[in-house]
């Protein structure tokens, strides 16, 4: 008790803060996905401000080229897992913080299980595929998402509250962009990432302590070379908007609509999950894992309606876009939320 009072005194005396806000931090559970350039500084500030429970997800191994910006790690840590070492370095800052290390990559199979145990998710990852997975699962679970990203001397910061508006990353960039430069091509400077990761920690703190000036379904662009910033309000994209990239309409089915397609002779139901994924469905469908969909396209009948499904609706959306963009299928839809939604209704 006394330790916490002394420990957090400098922040509890801030305006609009106090013991109430501190208690909210102590009671909260935050999942930081990515312990790299953004994750390292973010984690330092989240632990030190008194977040009660922190999860760290990262399957990466520490490399010498990381050390110029991933500031939790030292030369002696090269070759070790980032999540495990991050926990090592953080655990003595505030010993009563519960830190859980997840030394593997987040993916479709573990994402729901991981994210459902936390109140807030901070996206400190470095690729679009993972970012969209995190976004989609957070939207699914209504878990607020603190998005941060970097390009050279610039940064992007967004808070998606996942409230009734359901505004999320896809209302900014509807599809995972194809062109992305990873930092080994674009370059990255530690100080810039330090600022962006710290901003992510700050927005997480604002959200948990309910500050009125936190980003609210808004995205902030920062040019840290020229000190130019722009704060943008995001509004919900119309549900029947055509995809700006291809002009095709993305058709989501809810569970009721999906059930209506079962045993329909004019419909082909395609399970794009991997062979080992269970539970298998109890209705007739064609199983074509997404990685081998292209070479098995002949199994699909363009005259029929194609309905795709996967675990939570991320791969089936990818499959839908593939069929539309590369193979010109006109009658494709997918099960929004994945087959997990179907099973939960049975």
């Amino acid at each position: 008790m006394t330790d916490n009072y002394l420990r957090f005194q400098r922040q509890t005396i801030l305006p609009n803060f106090g013991d109430e806000a501190q208690q909210k931090l102590l009671n909260s559970k935050v999942l930081v996905i990515g312990a790299g350039g953004l994750g390292c500084p973010c984690l330092q500030y989240l632990v030190s401000c008194g977040i009660g429970t922190i999860g760290i997800v990262d399957g990466d191994i520490i490399d010498i080229s990381n050390l110029q910006r991933q500031i939790l790690f030292t030369t002696n840590d090269i070759g070790k897992n980032k999540s495990i070492i991050a926990k090592e370095k953080l655990k003595d800052i505030h010993p009563s913080t519960k830190i859980d290390s997840f030394p593997f990559y987040i993916d479709e199979k573990n994402a729901i299980d991981l994210i459902s145990k936390y109140d807030v998710v901070v996206d400190c990852t470095d690729n679009f595929k993972t970012r969209y997975l995190i976004n989609d699962v957070c939207a699914e679970l209504s878990t607020p998402l603190i998005f941060g990203a970097n390009f050279q001397f610039e940064g992007q910061l967004a808070v998606f509250k996942m409230d009734d508006s359901m505004i999320n990353l896809r209302d900014v960039f509807p599809k995972p962009p194809k062109q992305a430069m990873r930092c080994e091509e674009a370059g990255a400077l530690g100080a810039v990432l330090g600022i962006m990761g710290s901003l992510q920690a700050l927005e997480t703190i604002k959200l948990i302590t309910e500050q009125k000036d936190g980003l609210n379904n808004e995205i902030l662009y920062l040019n840290l070379m020229k000190y130019e910033t722009i704060k943008i309000k995001i509004s919900k994209k119309m549900p029947d908007v055509t995809c700006p990239m291809s002009g095709n309409t993305i058709i989501d089915l809810n569970v009721e609509e999906f059930i209506g397609k079962i045993n329909n002779p004019m419909v082909q139901l395609i399970d794009v999950r991997n062979e080992i994924e269970i539970p298998k469905v109890d209705f007739e469908c064609i199983q074509i894992p997404l990685p081998i969909l292209k070479e098995n396209i002949h199994l699909l009948n363009k005259e029929k309606e194609i309905v795709l499904f996967c675990h939570i609706g991320v791969r089936s959306l990818e499959a839908l876009e593939l069929l539309q963009d590369e193979f010109d299928f006109k009658h494709v839809s997918h099960l929004k939320g994945g087959i997990m939604k179907y099973f939960s209704m049975k």
């Binding site: 990203a149 674009a186 943008i232 119309m238």
Partner: protein, 79 residues
């Protein structure tokens, strides 16, 4: 003499033209302005970004006024 409007560039877009701000001829609707942008800067046409006008993301055709603040925002993924 035509009116010009300023457009702020973020991310890899500013690299393409070596500046963080460009000037194009003012057009009073979003779609016309977009067309004018690609006419004067064809290298932007296959780049991925969204438009923000007066601090709001814009996808549909709207009227634009002379003093509008316009920015082109590409996606970032680095972390």
């Amino acid at each position: 003499m035509s009116n010009k409007i300023t457009i702020k560039l973020f991310g890899n877009l500013s690299e393409l033209v070596n500046t963080h701000e460009i000037l194009i001829d003012f057009k009073s609707t979003f779609f016309e302005l977009k067309a004018e942008l690609f006419l004067q800067f064809p290298m932007f046409e296959n780049k991925e970004f969204v438009f923000a006008i007066d601090q709001k993301l814009i996808h549909e055709n709207i009227l634009i006024n002379q003093n509008a603040e316009i920015a082109l925002l590409p996606p970032f993924s680095g972390g």
